[in-house]
């Protein structure tokens, strides 16, 4: 399962940083203990030295015993005592009614050929308290550090990854069919992202070049086909005007003429498609679609012998900002499609609003996959005379103006819908 980098990074930090910090805390505690031990030792040796000096100066006339400070005992040769080492002990304080911990140090010293055992005392309560306080402070600091690191890390990551997300957004919005160039920051301030942007830009340029070549190929091929077609057409015209044309020959010539005509129309449509792709219809004006539909219906009725019954639900003065001839091609293709794929005594319903155009027509269901309906050269098997490019043209024009086009079939009705703009939410 994939998770955002930021979250992964935070998880990693939260998992391992406390372990490291805990280790550090333990180490710190041990070091503190060692330091305290050393300090107490130093303190005790210094005390011993001061007391012994005072003892020697006063020729032994000082108190031999002060509770919690020192003991001087003459040659009590006690074997069990470890000399010159720190030992723990407790002294009972009756006023406080409790025993307090002390560190003591015993040394054997020589004065006037007599051996004295000098033991000095230092309270270990304060140092213990200090260690606890320092330790708590340190733990608190570490927790704060942990929080700060995580927050800083998240903040800096977000900042550092910004160029990456900007690139992602740009690449995601990039549409090769729209002839736009991909504008990526060339200087992000991060070497890796600069490289990423360069690599993506190069890739897009290569893809663009390939796409452009392909488009150019279609356009050039279509242009080149025009001349041979013109030759065939002209020869056919000369041929049908030859004297002595028989019915048999006429029927052959009729078929050739039909085929040539279809080829010519196909070629014309392919050229139109590639021109739309190449953005060769830049002129945009306000087109009154309501009037246009009426006009197209009027002229289409002439072409068909059994034109289906038309029910118009057209809102007046629906205006689109688009190229006039492309809009005309779009609407005329949609309506013609509804006429051609209709049935005998069929019906067409045309709804038009500023938001959408919906053309419904009766007719047998499709033999082909509806998803492929808008692809080039897709047509239903029983239709042999159409070019199979009409709906591809519709799709292409819709793409150009970011209209969405969809097809549905239910209960014997084909529904072709174009949404010009999303209704305001």
């Amino acid at each position: 399962m994939s998770k955002p980098l930021l979250q992964q990074n935070t998880r990693y930090l939260l998992l391992w940083l406390p372990v490291v910090l805990l280790g550090c805390t333990l180490l710190f505690f041990v070091l503190m203990q060692m330091q305290a031990h050393h300090m107490q030792e130093e303190q005790l040796f210094l005390k011993q030295k001061n007391i012994w000096n005072a003892f020697k100066v006063k020729s032994g006339n000082i108190d031999n015993h002060i509770a919690g400070e020192y003991d001087i005992i003459q040659s009590a040769n006690n074997e069990s005592i470890e000399l010159n080492e720190l030992r723990d002990t407790v002294i009972y304080y009756p006023d406080k009614q409790k025993s307090l911990p002390f560190k003591i140090l015993t040394s054997e010293l020589n004065w006037n050929n007599k051996i004295y055992q000098v033991t000095t005392y230092v309270s270990s309560t304060e140092i213990k308290h200090l260690i606890i306080k320092v330790f708590l402070g340190e733990a608190l600091l570490f927790v704060l550090l942990l929080i700060a690191i995580v927050i800083l890390n998240r903040k800096s990551s977000r900042l550092l990854w910004k160029p990456f997300f900007s690139t992602m957004k740009n690449v995601n919005e990039y549409d090769i069919t729209r002839n736009q160039s991909l504008m990526l920051q060339s200087k992000t301030g991060t070497t890796e992202f600069d490289e990423l942007n360069t690599v993506i830009t190069n890739l897009i340029n290569k893809v663009n070049a390939a796409y452009y070549n392909q488009k150019q190929f279609v356009e050039n091929a279509s242009h080149e086909i025009q001349t041979p077609l013109a030759i065939i057409r002209s020869k056919l015209e000369l041929l049908i005007n030859q004297p002595g044309l028989t019915e048999k020959n006429a029927s052959l010539l009729g078929d050739i003429t039909d085929a040539t005509n279809r080829l010519s129309q196909m070629n014309k449509t392919l050229l139109l498609l590639s021109k739309i792709e190449n953005n060769q219809f830049p002129e945009i004006e306000a087109v009154n679609v309501s009037q246009m539909i009426e006009r197209i219906l009027d002229s289409l009725i002439i072409y068909y012998d059994n034109f289906p019954e038309v029910e118009s639900k057209i809102q007046p003065n629906v205006i689109l900002h688009a190229n006039h001839s492309l809009t005309e091609i779009l609407i005329s293709n949609i309506i013609r499609n509804a006429v051609e794929h209709n049935q005998r005594n069929g019906k067409i319903i045309i709804h038009l609003s500023p938001v959408n155009l919906l053309v419904e027509n009766t007719g047998p269901s499709l033999q082909t996959n509806p998803a492929l309906l808008f692809e080039r050269f897709r047509k239903d098997s029983y239709q042999t005379k159409t070019t199979g490019l009409g709906l591809a043209l519709v799709k292409q024009i819709c793409n150009l103006y970011s209209y969405s086009v969809s097809y549905q079939y239910n209960n014997g009705w084909h529904k072709m819908q174009i949404i010009f703009r999303q209704p305001a939410a």
Binding site: K235, I240, L245, L271
Partner: protein, 224 residues
């Protein structure tokens, strides 16, 4: 009428010349820019059919050359490029008309006839063919001294047939001539048939019977 055809595709050139020779034009054909310049320098023509893409030069250059030397031949451009820009450029350089390949020869003929009429008829817009008299300015047709009431499309259809009289005109050519780009991707041209039927009926009513004939479902012919 003298016609110069400039077209680099020899086969197409030959078709155009043959077609126009059959309807009594004097035709000369060249396939290159250099030859075209030579012909234009040496002779005068009534009309020039000009292809834009020539192997050694552009048709536009030729147009400029023509207009620079004040030659006022009518020029019809035939081009494989069906772009508005090319059309506008051509017309700006002084071309009179523009036809896109693959065109019908009958269409090219109709354009040339119209051009010649505009240029040389000096305002007389009456076209006579047999018993028919067409007034192109007033857009009326008189048959045996009776006025025919035709729709706009029927008028254009009759004019087209008269321009191509005594020749078979295919129904595709008629459809494209009358409806232009609207016929793109039309699966059939049956609507031409009903137009012809109406026209024939109207002609018959006024006594111009049987001048329009159907040729084996290929097309139609107006015989005079």
């Amino acid at each position: 009428m003298k016609l110069l055809v400039i077209e680099d595709e020899a086969s197409l050139l030959q078709s155009i010349m043959e077609y126009f020779e059959q309807i009594d034009f004097l035709c000369e054909g060249v396939t290159t820019y250099a030859n075209a310049i030579q012909k234009i320098d040496d002779y005068n023509y009534d009309c020039i059919i000009l292809d834009i893409n020539l192997p050694d030069g552009s048709g536009f250059e030729l147009l400029k050359y023509l207009r620079k030397y004040k030659k006022d031949e009518g020029v019809v451009i035939i081009s494989a490029r069906n772009s508005l820009d090319d059309k506008i450029t051509g017309l700006n350089f002084g071309a009179d008309d523009y036809v896109t390949k693959p065109f019908h020869l009958s269409e090219l003929n109709a354009r040339i006839k119209a051009l010649i009429r505009r240029k040389y008829a000096h305002g007389i817009d009456i076209l006579e063919a047999g018993n028919l008299k067409m007034d192109l300015a007033a857009r009326t047709v008189v048959c045996e001294n009776q006025i025919l009431s035709l729709t706009k499309n029927e008028f254009n259809l009759l004019l087209y047939l008269i321009n191509n009289k005594n020749r078979v005109v295919s129904k595709q050519a008629i459809a494209e001539h009358i409806y232009g780009d609207e016929t793109d991707n039309m699966p059939s041209f049956d609507f031409v048939y009903s137009h012809i039927k109406n026209l024939k009926r109207k002609l018959k009513e006024k006594g111009c019977e049987d001048i329009v004939q159907t040729v084996y479902g290929l097309g139609y012919k107006l015989s005079i």
